[in-house]
Symmetry: C2
């Protein structure tokens, strides 16, 4: 049980923190401009105290209709979702919402680069959206509700954990979509 959380518990970093640092690294060096979108919030009540900043006093979390990260690399639209699982055998598809999957499909149809960064089995993987959509469809057609570890290893691209940048997913994109050789 303890061992399954190793990737993060040992380092004290979350997947989101790692990706934010990675994106900052890209930004600082002019490699790519990719940001995490703010958490969508439905604001109901705001106080406007004199001589100080407005305070939101009642608000609710809304479900996002898109993925968490997007931006630009070499002119191309980049769009991805980050997900983690503690399971040691498979990646549950319930981690994804219907509208996120629909969004990924629309991005692909529009010629953008869409993918998922998975943190699972003490590793990181880049899974292209086209692959995820196949597993999603299998589920929709009554098949299994998760992607097995073996399937992920066969279909996805490992991203080695580094120091700077931590999760160098641009390197994987470069190989997949930009290298002519």
């Amino acid at each position: 049980q303890r061992q399954q959380k190793e990737t993060y518990s040992n380092r004290g970093m979350t997947l989101e923190e790692d990706l934010n640092e990675t994106n900052q690294y890209y930004l600082d060096r002019g490699i790519a401009v990719i940001h995490k979108k703010p958490t969508p919030v439905q604001i109901v009540n705001v106080d406007f105290p004199k001589r100080s900043a407005a305070v939101i006093r009642e608000a609710y979390f809304k479900q996002s209709s898109t993925t968490d990260y997007n931006g630009v690399y070499k002119g191309k639209y980049i769009d991805f979702e980050a997900k983690e699982t503690q399971s040691s055998t498979s990646f549950p598809l319930q981690n994804f919402h219907e509208h996120q999957v629909r969004h990924m499909k629309m991005v692909l149809d529009q010629g953008g680069l869409s993918f998922v960064i998975l943190s699972a089995f003490q590793s990181f993987y880049l899974m292209e959206a086209a692959i995820l959509l196949e597993f999603w469809e299998r589920k929709e057609n009554g098949g299994r509700k998760s992607i097995t570890k073996k399937e992920i290893e066969l279909t996805s691209h490992p991203i080695p954990l580094g120091y700077q940048p931590r999760i160098d997913y641009i390197k994987v994109l470069e190989k997949l979509y930009f290298l002519s050789s």
Copy 2:
């Protein structure tokens, strides 16, 4: 005074509402996938009542480090900011924040399409980021702190207000960047 607000006061729509409807129109028809980013909020305190949704009880508005809208059109990264003025003679550059302008420059450097949609003088204009950057630099170098109506008319592209879509900025982008003829 009344007349200056005509564009919106007469229709009861805000620029943001018009753009959201426009983006929904594009989305529904598979023309483009472009969304407004959520308002960034710094969450300080959250209540978790039993048997009901979490309630944010203290939060503050944060300044965004990017622009308001982004997405993908024909594979290309699209990124823009929407701004309006009630002035009838010029567009004040104080409407833009330093970090937004910096973000636009980074997007351009990365090969993305970056621009501003201006609502001013009872009209809508698409101003390419490269042009805005010139006016911004003029200000930084001690020049005027606004863009005159004449300058906007000379450098920007009018977007006719329509019924569906309301602000058809993709048509302008198509002419500027995608038409080979």
